[in-house]
Symmetry: C2
Subunit: 226 residues, 2 copies
Amino acid sequence: MTACDNCAVRDQAICCSLNPAEREQFARIGRRMTIPKGQSIIWEGDESVVVANVVEGAMKLSISTADGREQIVGVVQPADFIGRPFGAKTGHNVTALTKSSVCVFPRTEFDRFAGDHPTLGQTLLKKTLEDLDRARSWMLLLGRKSAPEKIATFLLDMASRAPGSQVDRFNLSLNRQQIADVLGVTIETVSRQLNQLKREGIIALPSRDGIEILDREALQDMAGTA
Amino acid sequence: MTACDNCAVRDQAICCSLNPAEREQFARIGRRMTIPKGQSIIWEGDESVVVANVVEGAMKLSISTADGREQIVGVVQPADFIGRPFGAKTGHNVTALTKSSVCVFPRTEFDRFAGDHPTLGQTLLKKTLEDLDRARSWMLLLGRKSAPEKIATFLLDMASRAPGSQVDRFNLSLNRQQIADVLGVTIETVSRQLNQLKREGIIALPSRDGIEILDREALQDMAGTA
DNA sequence: CGCGGATTTGACCTACGTCAACACCCGTGG
DNA sequence: CCACGGGTGTTGACGTAGGTCAAATCCGCG
């Protein structure tokens, strides 16, 4: 299938578990979409109608209280899977942080296909288990860590998952408010902690959303996870 | 298989996806164990060696910082699945909150069996997706809710998942410290909030760990999720 | 060059944590 | 049957990390 042949995440997304014939069949139920920055494709509480693979860009998963406080519960990268298979309501919004490209499947058709192709289900299970591990370790951060620990953990986490090559210099695709929403603090706290680290020479802030880690060890000490 | 015939969670645990022959085969790789209150069976950071179904009792999943602060990332009930399949390290401790009974499988054998029996994998996937939904909605609580909102949400959540019949009167299997570790607050805050709700006539505290909800609507307002 | 959103910074406030006393519950042994 | 002791929970007084509010300041862009 031509659409898949030049797909950037062909070998990392869940599709990689399919053989060429299956993949062609699978491709037939999906379709490529571009999502402009700031636009949502899935809404908290809605019946789950689509699932997707992220091909390019970055997206956030978020949940809100009735009065508008927001918590970002995940930041997804290319090759990650989004949406809620198996006939349930979606628990969170999915919104593009940058212009993104996704490969979308109608949920019911996806469910049927997954039922018929166990390898796909198994790959999805592995990804879901990883997501669950990540969500739970983030719960420790949200519930028990101080603001400096939160920022340090966040920077190391972003560095480790940054798509680019150079690990110690990368771009957050998040602005200060979004960082705050990931860490469960306010925008002012994010700003203060970041500039504190800069003053201490542990990081540099070369641009709006650029980060350079100058002293990784200090950050690690500060992150304080077991 | 006789062991399964009188199993209390036969029809809810992941085994329910197997036909009698498969189930017998599956039962052969598992074994029933009793875990006394307070004892752990899985440790954070360890190589994953066992997975299990919970048959009776209640267990906590927890993660700690280097200096001993603890966050409970899940409370599991009978029929829930615990442990980390597919060759990874375990991200959290699993500890019995009450005397518990579990059906344990060596992880490698479980993985092999799951690979050969797609229906089992699919059922596990569904459970994992639910766990992930729960974990993420708890992230909103940890990151963005106030202490009163946390307590209210917690009580409603426990009420809805309490195994007993009567929904508005139930037993927490957690002491105050454990509630604090679930909510990311201190023991004193839990105590104050609980007694505040009692003073307002919204709940009653008939015993050490008994809860009676007197005004569910007030609690719901207070929980403040969308 | 000037405008508008994002970020930073400062001054102040408060929800929750900390620390310490005290009360309660229950089992044990005299 | 009651005194006693230890673990768990409650309550109060006080401290502080991080929130709130309000001003700068920065920066990208027409």
